[in-house]
């Protein structure tokens, strides 16, 4: 059975379904008896989604306008 460190070290292959069946069993056994690691897995899994929300960037209309004008000027001369 894995300890906490081995479990956390293997989270990426675990979440992507790339672990060997044997290692996955070791990890699941650990998670069954370790609530803090279950919370860790849940929060690790949620991290990317929260970051996506925090890092959304939108394009200001004036930048979109300049992009359009730039492309027209470049492409009309071709």
């Amino acid at each position: 059975m894995f300890n906490c460190k081995e479990s956390i070290d293997s989270l990426l292959p675990f979440l992507e379904g790339e672990m060997s069946p044997e290692d996955e069993e070791h990890l699941r056994q650990h998670l069954n008896g370790c609530p803090p690691c279950v919370e860790f897995v849940n929060t690790y899994r949620a991290t990317s989604g929260l970051c996506r929300k925090a890092l959304v960037k939108s394009m200001p209309p004036e930048v979109a306008g300049r992009l359009r004008a730039y492309l027209r000027s470049k492409l009309e001369t071709k």
Partner: protein
């Protein structure tokens, strides 16, 4: 992007390849937000992001005839934009900073978690509106990542590129990409956990 949008893109692409400028402009309309967002996240500069968007769509137009449509048009311009952003960062020589002091969980000698997570805040990730303070904490933590980790995290978790694409663009092996991604996620998870400890 939905299946219908991808099909619409194919139709627009075919018209653009036949020389219809308005069809190409419609493709720009559909994908400029995503391209600009990627460039801004990567470079953290509005001026650079605007130039990258210009270069990306100009390059896409110049290579339209070579695009065979095996991939979606959106994925194609997205990869061009990512390459342009990385090249710009390389020119600014900010890519080679890799550090070993990334935050992450601490363990006891026996490999147990030294500190129990603050709480299971994962369900809050489903909230539609992100707390403003949390958003700021995440942006600061992302900015604080060593550049080699930040770019891999952004390209994978924000832009959805494959490990193979990132490995090729960044010039490191796939296991190295995965290792950087994992450590970046751990550092960001740690920052979010610290935020919830304080509130």
């Amino acid at each position: 992007m939905t299946q219908t949008s991808v099909e619409d893109d194919r139709e627009l692409l075919a018209r653009a390849q036949a020389g219809d400028m308005s069809a190409f402009e419609a493709l720009v309309d559909r994908h400029e937000e995503k391209v600009y967002g990627l460039a801004l996240r990567m470079t953290r500069s509005e001026a650079d992001a605007a130039e990258i968007a210009q270069d990306t769509f100009l390059s896409a137009y110049q290579h339209l005839s070579e695009f065979r449509g095996e991939a979606a048009f959106g994925s194609w311009v997205h990869r061009i934009a990512a390459n342009n952003a990385l090249m710009r960062l390389r020119r600014q020589k900010v890519l080679d900073i890799v550090s070993d002091d990334l935050a992450g969980p601490e363990f006891t000698d026996r490999g147990s978690l030294a500190e129990v997570p603050e709480s299971d805040w994962s369900k809050r990730a489903d909230d539609k509106i992100l707390d403003e303070e949390l958003g700021r904490a995440i942006r600061e933590a992302t900015d604080a990542l060593p550049e080699g980790y930040r770019e891999v995290f952004l390209l994978k978790d924000l832009e959805g590129l494959s490990y193979e694409e990132i490995s090729e663009m960044v010039g490191i092996s796939i296991p190295a990409v995965k290792s950087r991604l994992h450590r970046a996620r751990l550092a960001l998870r740690e920052a979010i956990d610290a935020f919830y400890k304080e509130v």
